[in-house]
Symmetry: C2
Subunit: 244 residues, 2 copies
Amino acid sequence: MRNYRATVEYDGTDFAGFQLQLNQRTVQGDLEEALFRLTKDMVRVHGAGRTDSGVHAIGQVISFKSDTSIPKERISFAMNSVLKPDVRVLSAEETDERFHARFSAVSRTYLYLILNRPEPTAVWRRYALHCASPLDIGSMREVENSIIGTHDFSSWANSIKEANGTVRTVRQFHIRRVHEFVIVHIEANGFLHGMVRNLVGALLEVGAGKRTPEDIERITACKDRRCAGPCAPAYGLCLVKVKY
Amino acid sequence: MRNYRATVEYDGTDFAGFQLQLNQRTVQGDLEEALFRLTKDMVRVHGAGRTDSGVHAIGQVISFKSDTSIPKERISFAMNSVLKPDVRVLSAEETDERFHARFSAVSRTYLYLILNRPEPTAVWRRYALHCASPLDIGSMREVENSIIGTHDFSSWANSIKEANGTVRTVRQFHIRRVHEFVIVHIEANGFLHGMVRNLVGALLEVGAGKRTPEDIERITACKDRRCAGPCAPAYGLCLVKVKY
């Protein structure tokens, strides 16, 4: 069977996350159903990142094996013709038989979007966390260097029962203000479950002056989820890129 | 009675436009219902622009008269507590008794958002028109100067039964590319019904090489809607600012 690789975008609002779940609408479920409709075969889809319920993606990567007769340059068009509009295949190609969307990935990049202005929002309500009080970006940026690098991120994980341990390498972590938005950008070789949202939850406390940048270092060092505080909501998070 | 002015943002997707309509959900209807729930009075809301079904706003301005006991600094908070999340009052203030959101306005500014890339989109599907073929921005920009100024815009109107005639003054009209987007920005003292979407429809044909910039001048000159061609869809359009 041929091996395919595709890039997928989705609005996570109406999905119970990426990963297949019984009696729930999931991105993996929709993609497998689309492939079944097109090929009449049960096709297992693997995703680079198992995004949680409500989390979006503009650069999720999937892989799947199929001996479909659909020409490779028509795969994305064919899938989009049977998928609902909140999930789109941006591109698809035939790839090396050893390629696996999840296991071949060397890094994933997420963005967390915060609308930081006094006024609430209607048009950004699905994609950005609204934070009415001004955030102190200077303090937030002081956290960057304590997160970049190889650390045990247990304190930032919702569960420490991780198959691959709790040590991850963060390659990039930066926070910037763009007009009314504060954008948190993080790239790592992998993420523990809930890691980005827990980090953003603590960062928001730093930006609000409720914690210091040094507190974040202490939370990492204590290796206990109970130190870390609130989790930022799913809808501000987006998987933007996967590198191989 | 005191006169109030408020700025309103809404996601037009689930509304049959701004203006009140029987048995349909409209922005005006939702705002009047919110004010009724808060004040127990029937309050008439006037909007600066009567946006069509599906059109969004981040800077719609409304005015209404009320003798509510709600302190003016609490009006927006109170309204947001009873409105659905796809419409938000960004700010509200007490204003001069002669102020009228529609009749006092001196200009309105609209944006039309086009996602111009080969790949389709899930996350922008409510807010941007997807155009897969590359648009020739150079040609599109050649149209700018023929639209700016005072003209009879009959050719660009869905209906020429306009109370205030068909002459309008366009103060600004520009087209720019920002990453994968093409953004059309237009400010005028007023717009005929359908004017922005009809202009964008023709502009897209210029960008695709199906019409020349000179064709646009000819369409304006012929003063007949039948010359103008397709109308761009509502969901790419957003009312961004009203000046007084």
